[in-house]
């Protein structure tokens, strides 16, 4: 005589919809992208041309006048912050056992991340090295005299 178990007798309870799969995929995609973005960023800023001596206010202003570097820095900002925050979230999930602590820490993490992304994006797109109406002694040397 044989026994047939048609369905498992222990129903699962803890299954709920989650984003873990997409989180993992994001880490895998953003990781290699960030390696290219960050190392190119470092080489362009610190090695090529006059090297580290070239970096000053004018250098940054010059880069952000170019839409190419605007998009580059924007991608770096978003990817690095989300990648880092998601990494921190997994560490919180590991070590924060209590649901309340876990939720508080994760919420704080994402709030800080959102704020930094917002401010960074604002700066990249609204950056003006020579704002009109500023007093002359505060302006950079390369700005046309007011």
């Amino acid at each position: 005589m044989s026994v047939t178990i048609e369905v498992p007798n222990r129903p699962r309870t803890r299954k709920q919809a989650n984003w873990e799969k997409y989180g993992w995929l994001f880490m895998r995609v953003s990781g290699p992208l960030l390696i290219v973005l960050i190392f190119t960023h470092l080489v362009v800023n610190l090695v090529l041309g006059d090297g580290i001596k070239a970096i000053d206010f004018a250098f940054v202003a010059g880069k952000w006048a170019d839409p190419f570097w605007q998009v580059w820095d924007l991608a770096m900002l978003w990817l690095a912050l989300i990648h880092g925050t998601n990494g921190m979230r997994t560490i919180v999930n590991d070590y924060a056992g209590q649901v309340k602590v876990r939720r508080a820490l994760t919420t704080t993490l994402w709030a800080v991340c959102a704020l930094l992304i917002l401010l960074g994006t604002l700066v990249i797109f609204t950056f003006d090295p020579c704002p009109a109406g500023a007093s002359a002694e505060l302006l950079a040397s390369f700005c046309p005299a007011q």
Binding site: R12, N18, E20, W24, Y95, G97
Partner: protein, 244 residues
Amino acid sequence: MAELSVPTIESFTVTLIVRRFDPENDTEPKWEDFDVEMYGTDRVLDALHKIKWEQDGSLTFRRSCAHGVCGSDAMRINGRNRLACKTLIKDLDISKPIYVEPIKGLPVEKDLIVDMTPFYKAYLEINPFLVATDKPKKERLQSPEERARYDDTTKCILCAACTSSCPVFWTDGQYFGPAAIVNAHRFIFDSRDENAELRLDILNDKEGVWRCRTTFNCTEACPRGIEVTKAIAEVKQAILRGRA
């Protein structure tokens, strides 16, 4: 008549420092050391036997077959998860004491014995049995290639060496752990099984395969040489594809 010379077999003395806990008298586990006379062919399990039989009968540990098949005597030997019955003492550094502790991440019951219930619960949750609706008159046929696909993960003996070496499992006991995923892998990639999708769905849980961050502790710990981390990665890929 020439005198018979009996060659003496070389022996050596080793110190074992064993993590002990007696739930009836102790509030905290403590270390206790034993000196034992051992031979080159002896294993850590033999040393434990010698202690239990000749020095302190209260020393408590699990062992059944004592030959690396049943998976009862997984323990932490010099900081690494090993089967006591497969670890030769002469392969360890015998100039120093050998540290023996229970596997980590599961509640200690007494000395080297831990409560395996959370481990088995995770194992049960992935439906570790063949699900097939057909009722064949003969055996279900499978090509050698189809069999080879999941050969590695059939070797698991459920000793918990992998799961209790996993840092994610140490800190987050909700994680399924490597052993459960290995045993899910064994059926997910079995051509005769029909329930791969359900198992993949189970492991797509918040506490499922995505918690794995490829530390490779499990692969290093497995006494059967299963490539555990690789199996977990294959299950991740299968979930992304949506099928085995």
